[in-house]
Symmetry: C2
Subunit: 221 residues, 2 copies
């Protein structure tokens, strides 16, 4: 990679607006299933309809929007089946990550740092931050594979999962129990105990999936 992030202001409009809308989607500014009118969005973001359509094309391919021919673009509304699928993907990829973990990998250090930060954030009752840090923790875990494609794919499902969180009102209890679990998982990995680490990961995923599903069903039951 010859490109470094940081000082290149010269992004294309499509990239910029895509990032903006993506951020809005992930932070729950739109309601799932809500229709995004081309005209309205275009004028709202001060871009042309054609450019916006390129943005929609991108976000649809990332699973954040659902494009229905002749009807338009809608905010993706992941349901229970989607959540189950997302956790299936997480299970496969993250198990692969645990098994690929080599001692001394930089991603491990990052995981430790993120786990520590999460404890600090909990102490401050900053649950929004705890959630973000938890995501970053698992993102770092996948970096253990040293595979750009795997990381990119994982980012997609993680973004979809954040969309789900956007649907739920109170996400604090969704992250609280997992701070400790992350640390336990890390310790197993640090010790090179893959079997124990896999078990801890599985425990985490099952537990997390259950509570997300429960919260989702509660929201509409």
């Amino acid at each position: 990679m010859t490109n470094k992030p940081g000082q290149d202001d010269e992004q294309s409009l499509v990239a910029k607006i895509s990032a903006d809308i993506r951020r809005l989607l992930i932070s729950g500014e739109f309601k799932p299933g809500e229709k995004l009118s081309e005209q309205q969005m275009a004028s709202q973001f001060g871009i042309s309809r054609n450019t916006l359509r390129e943005v929609f094309r991108l976000l649809s391919s990332q699973g954040l929007l659902t494009h229905i021919p002749n009807r338009g673009a809608f905010v993706a509304a992941p349901d229970e089946a989607d959540v189950i699928d997302i956790y299936r993907v997480r299970s496969v990829i993250q198990k692969g990550a645990v098994q690929a973990a080599s001692p001394g990998h930089p991603a491990l250090a990052r995981m430790w740092a993120l786990a520590a930060e999460a404890e600090t954030a909990r102490a401050d009752d900053d649950w929004r931050r705890v959630g973000t840090l938890n995501m970053e923790f698992h993102r770092a875990m996948v970096e253990l594979c040293d595979s750009p494609r795997l990381s990119a794919g994982f980012d997609l499902v993680l973004a979809e999962l954040r969309l789900v969180f956007g649907q739920l009102e109170d996400t604090s209890h969704l992250h609280e129990p997992y701070i400790a679990l992350n640390v336990t998982l890390l310790e197993h990995m640090e010790r090179g105990d893959t079997v124990a680490a896999l078990a801890a990961l599985d425990a985490y995923l099952v537990k997390s999936e259950r509570s997300v599903l429960a919260a989702l069903q509660r929201r509409r039951g």
Copy 2:
């Protein structure tokens, strides 16, 4: 730009042309790294430049095109690092598939059928078909996970891999030895011997990756 006769294609133009170009890319009709001029392609496919740009956006997000700001869209040219990464993804996902395999899963039947077809194709010396069937075989394997997202992600890397094959002149020897390996793998899975199946899968992937890398390096000295 005469329209093809046939049933009512309710697809959008973007979807249709995307599929067309994707097919052309995968079958090696374009040279890797080749620049795809907007004007030329637009008139060649009889669509407007704006529509073509949506197509490029899509194919870029799928890794088949590389988009460089202000310079245009280029046919992706996967190098050795990309091949290594692709096989890393395959390893993670397909190991997950083997472990997720449940006896009697419809995908297993499909794998048997594809393996049989591959043997027929080999008897006919139809190596192009053998290659396609081999891809389908592994695609079916991932279906064992029953995860649309995992299958979709796998399709992406498989498409990229086909792009690599497009760079190589003679792909016959790339597929020949693997027909038998696939059958062996299947037998292990059928018997529920996950450990043996994983070993067979790993053998396949390592061998396949090596020959692809070798062919790629041979191609460029």
